[in-house]
Structure formats: C-alpha cells, structure tokens
C-alpha cells in the first residue's frame, strides 16, 4: 500500500515538472516502483519485463529523443480547467463502478476460477514446464506471441524507415 501511494506521488511530480530531463528521470523511477508493486502482487515474470523494458529501454529512448529535440517545456497557453474536469469526472464514474468489484485477493472470484485454474491443473501433464507463464505464452497462446513479435518487427522497420540516414559512398 505504501508503494502504491509512492506511485501516486511520483505521478503528481511528473505532471508538474517543467524540465523534461526531470520528467524522464521521474518516469524511470515510476517504472521501478511499478516493478516493485508487481513483485508484491506475485507477478514475477511481469515485474522482470517491466523493470528491464520500462526502466531500461524506455529511459534510453526518451533520453535519445531529448538529445535530438529540446529540453524544457514551454509556458502553458490555454487554461487547464476543462481537462481537469474531464479527468476528475471520468475518475468519479470509474470509482462508482469499482464499488461492486470483488474484494482484493480472494480465491473464488470469477477471474481466478475458470480458465486460470484449468491452465494450472493441466499444465504439467501437457508440457513438463514448471513456469506456467512461459508455457501459456509459448504453447497454449502461441499465436498471440507470434502477433507480438510481428508488432516489434513492424515497429523496428518503421523506425529504420523514419530515422535512418543513408551514407553516400564516394
């Protein structure tokens, strides 16, 4: 719970900071805190991915982009009451919706009983792989992982098409 409150404070800091370098560093701290929260929630694979991807690659790419553009943010031109009202209104509606959700951490909510329990029960018989997340990712839901690799591939070639400089030989 303390971690979650720290997350909220870091996000408030990101909103108010004007120097973009500070925003990037605070974003990296936010990713690290998010990885810690995921560890507490028993999601070890996801925590490792969020830590390496969010606090690692994202920060490097943001710093690279900052190096190629400007470092501070300009003065706000329009007043920010309408976006604030939109954000708070959306938040109030969502809080009203979560009042009826099942409490945190019980074992017989509808999320945890149908397909999830089926995967845990059948996993060792079908594939002798102890890590259930890897076996679901690569075997039971292998098609989704193929789509994900294709998305990374597409992003890679799109960035190469946008930013690569061809050196003229000779």
């Amino acid at each position: 719970m303390v971690l979650l409150t720290l997350l909220a404070c870091v996000v408030v800091g990101i909103t108010r900071a004007r120097n973009l370098f500070a925003v990037v560093v605070l974003g990296s701290a936010y990713s690290f805190l998010m990885a810690s929260v995921m560890m507490v929630l028993d999601a070890v694979d996801v925590a490792m991915t969020e830590a390496s991807v969010g606090a690692g690659i994202s920060t490097v790419l943001l710093l690279g982009a900052l190096f190629l553009t400007k470092v501070t943010e300009a003065e706000p031109r329009y007043s920010n009451t309408i976006p604030m009202i939109v954000a708070i209104g959306t938040g109030a509606m969502l809080v009203y919706g979560t009042w009826e959700l099942p409490a945190f951490g019980i074992a017989d909510s509808p999320v945890n009983t149908h397909v999830g329990a089926e995967y845990i029960a059948r996993n060792y018989d079908d594939t002798h792989i102890p890590n259930i997340v890897t076996s679901v990712l690569a075997s039971y839901r292998g098609f989704d992982t193929l789509g994900e690799v294709t998305v990374i591939f597409t992003a890679g070639i799109a960035i190469l098409a946008l930013l690569k400089r061809f050196r003229q030989k000779g």
Binding site: V44, D45, A47, M48, T49, S52, V53, G56, I57, V60, L61, G64, A65, F67, L68, D126, T127, H128, I129, P130, N131, V133, T134, S135, L137, A138, S139, G142, F143, T145, L146, V149, T150, I152, F153, A155, G156, I157, I159, L160, L162, L163, K164, R165
Partner: protein, 145 residues
C-alpha cells in the same frame, strides 16, 4: 577526463556479466521467471551500454549495421517456421505435439512441446535484441551529420 577511466573499467567488467545473465534468463525461462523478451532486452542493454561508453562507431565495428538489419526479420521467420513445421509433421499450425516424432505418444508429445517452446523463445530473443539495437542505432545516428 578522469571519470572516463572509472566508467571504462566498470564497463569492461559489467558487459560480459550482463550478456551472460541475459543468456541465463533466456535458457532458464522454463524453470524460473524469464523467457525471450526479458533476455532480449538485457542483451540489447549490454550492447547499448558498450555504445554509450565507447562511441557508436566502436559498437558498429562489433555489431555491424547489416547484421542487425539481417537479424530483425530472422526471429519472426524462426517463429513462423516452427509453425509451418508443425503443419508438415501432421498437426495444425504451431502444434508442437508432433515436432519430434509423429504421430506422438504422450511422452513424445511432451518432448515435442519442449522443443517447440525452446525454438520459439530463441526466435523471440533474436527479434527483440536486434530491434532494440536497431532502434538505438537509428536514434544515435541521427544526431551528427
């Protein structure tokens, strides 16, 4: 530039250890947390660290641009190739049960699953590593004229 020396000595220690750790995470993805994505990002981070400390030209001598551009689609091809090989051995697309012997008994189906997951994770590792390095090279190469 006295700070430069500290950075270089530390990097010389850290980069091989990081690549080793990335290989460990990839190959132990079946038994602990890990798998293709995490390992790909860790190995790409080691190469990016090398490029940050010694300059992009030195990094391009070790991991050249043509190699990176070759490896980016190679991982997707490995993944799709495993799927098509599944069709050739008598199952549906991406069916790992018949990969080693076909038609499989229960133990041979488990053997096929192990091989299938292993090859698929290698495909993911190759594409993720090459894409992250290619993106970094693109961003870093845009700065100078």
């Amino acid at each position: 530039m006295r700070m430069d020396v500290i950075l270089r000595v530390t990097a010389k220690f850290f980069i091989p250890v990081t690549i080793l750790f990335g290989l460990y995470v990839q190959l132990h993805g079946d038994f602990g947390p890990g798998g293709g994505f995490q390992a790909g990002v860790i190995i790409a981070a080691a190469v990016i660290f090398y490029a940050i400390v010694w300059g992009k030209d030195a990094a391009e001598r070790v991991v050249p641009q043509w190699l990176v551009e070759l490896l980016v689609p190679m991982g997707v091809l490995i993944y799709a190739g495993v799927g098509i090989y599944g069709i050739m051995t008598g199952g549906t697309y991406l069916d790992y049960n018949g990969l080693v012997h076909s038609p499989p008994t229960h133990d041979e189906a488990v053997h096929g699953q192990h091989w299938g997951v292993f090859l698929v994770e290698i495909g993911v590792l190759v594409t993720v590593t090459a894409t992250m390095i290619a993106i970094f090279y693109a961003f870093a190469g845009r700065g100078k004229e």
